[in-house]
Amino acid sequence: MNNIIAMPVVIPLLVSIILVFLRPFIKVQRVLSLIALVATAIVSIYILNSIQMNGVLRLDFGGWKPPYGILFVADSFSVLLVLTTAIVSSIILIYAFSSIGRRYENMFFYPFVLLLIAGVNGSFLTGDLFNLFVFFEVMLLASYVLITLGGKKVQLMESIKYVAINVLSSWFFLLGIAYLYGTVGTLNMAHLSARIAEVGQGPLLTIISIIFLIVFSLKSGLLLYFWLPGSYSAPPTAIAALFGALLTKVGIYALFRTFTLIFYHEPSITHTLIGVMAAITLVGGSIGAIAYQDIRQIVSYNVVITIGFILVGLAVSTSIGIQGSVFYLVHDIIIKASLFLLAGTMIYLTGKTSIEEMSGLIRNYPLLGWLFFLTMLALAGIPPLSGFLGKLYIGQGAVEAGSYILLALAFLSGILVLYSLLRIFMNTFWGETIISEEDEIPLRKGLLLPCVLLGMMTIALGVGAEGILVYVEDAAYTLMNPEVYIDAVLEKGK
């Protein structure tokens, strides 16, 4: 039946367990983990097309009809993200093959990456709030291990804050779940939505919704991003790229899901608050991106800016704004992975982290320079590339809703993103070359190939936007009309 929608979780989970027993066989681990992720991508393409034919799919575990059992719900929004996650993580995995080093590969690197992906996919697919908490924990525990793996001093110091803040926010999540269960007596998201629509979202429920807002803001780095730049700068490139591309996106997904499906009745309070938080995030992230000399810090602050930008779409909550956010979310998973990989490669090649100490890289590594240039343009939203359409739609949404302050901040931040990256580009790629031809570290194909693949994806996503727009429109339609989701989940449960 619909068993296939559990596959994006089951495949990585099972393979990761098998890989634990194959510890000495690194080649086998590499091949198996890559196969698992590619298989996940293929399965999610199938699911995505099947949703277009049959509407929102669901899978009741153990045959318990909703709202009694735990279930997976696959709509276009979640499966689009699952698909992008699978593709981008397999590309990052290819980068890891030639960069992560034997020490990591011996210490269960691949199993934990797959567990992380299983947790991420589970969070995207689940239709139950408590189950979302559990998948968050699966993802976070895997991320705790990945961020501390290697055990360098800086890494441990930064990651203890990351772990502590995430543990705390997990307990707040549980607190919100407890209150919500006490108030409406259910945890199935569709059922929650239906019940809240029945009783009306009173002050009590609005306060509970703000607890969820705080929790997911901590996870996604909306306003509460103080932990993000430090901890994303510490781990090795491949892991940092996985984090930068995926982890915050799960928090953003949860924000979109809860505030379009469950708590959408009081937009004057909750959505205004999201708007204010997004605005401050945009400003704070922009200041951070300009202030630092360390490439890793600049890149991490770019993650923060994007979070604010995507949530402008949710704050204005118009159909076109949400479409823009969904599109930009997909684009950003790709482009942040690319940015982290390129920055990491530059640090690997020069052995320096500050932009002041690098110079003239374009002479030694021309392709790397052009790829960075391409990524920069895509992030700034230059038309043929993938960032453009998302920015356009979010901008249109803001105009429709009349939120001109958010609009101005969103596009001003775009210029600052461009400036911060241009600063990296001009300092590191232009100027006198500092690496003589004898000292030049050869840029291995294994490092360059993933960056090229991601660059090609951003061009493809920009040029072929028509193709993906069908899915994005459907995703936005389901988000804007919660009854589609509710009907799909509860039709037979009544």
């Binding site: 408590f130 908490f133 559990v134 924990e137 525990l141 705790y144 291990v145 501390t148 055990g151 360098k152 001093k153 800086v154 890494q155 441990l156 110091m157 930064e158 990651s159 203890i160 804050k161 772990v163 502590a164 543990v167 705390l168 997990s170 307990w171 549980l174 607190l175 779940i177 407890a178 209150y179 269960y181 006490g182 945890l187 430090g230 700068s233 510490a234 000399q293 360390d294 810090q297």
Partner: protein, 112 residues
């Protein structure tokens, strides 16, 4: 009974917040552990305490107790156990590397 447990939850949260606000890593970990216990208790209270019989077919009562919070708590306890264990190990490793458990001194990047 519910009121009493709610007050207990409040006390636990107060203790947890006090511990979390300190600078020592070990206290923060203990604080997060206490907070998790407080929230597990809260989950139980939210389901209602002692409302009826055991929720099994064949029990001869009018009302059945709500079994869901128990299941949630069980899952949450396992997670909090795993997370706290991980945090303790991480704190010990950090202490070994950095020679301090004061969060003020645990700055990874100097030029912040």
């Amino acid at each position: 009974m519910e009121t009493l447990i709610t007050i207990l939850v409040g006390v636990l949260v107060a203790v947890a917040v006090y511990l979390l606000l300190s600078r020592s890593v070990i206290r923060i970990i203990l604080g997060s552990a206490v907070l998790s216990h407080a929230i597990h208790l809260l989950l139980m209270v939210m389901g209602g305490l002692k409302k009826g019989g055991v929720p099994l077919i064949g029990e001869e009562t009018e009302n059945f107790a709500d079994a869901l919070p128990q299941a949630l708590i069980l899952t949450a306890i396992v997670i909090s156990f795993a997370v706290t264990a991980f945090l303790l190990v991480l704190a010990y490793r950090t202490y070994q590397e950095a020679g301090s458990d004061d969060l003020q001194e645990l700055r990874g990047f100097k030029n912040e």
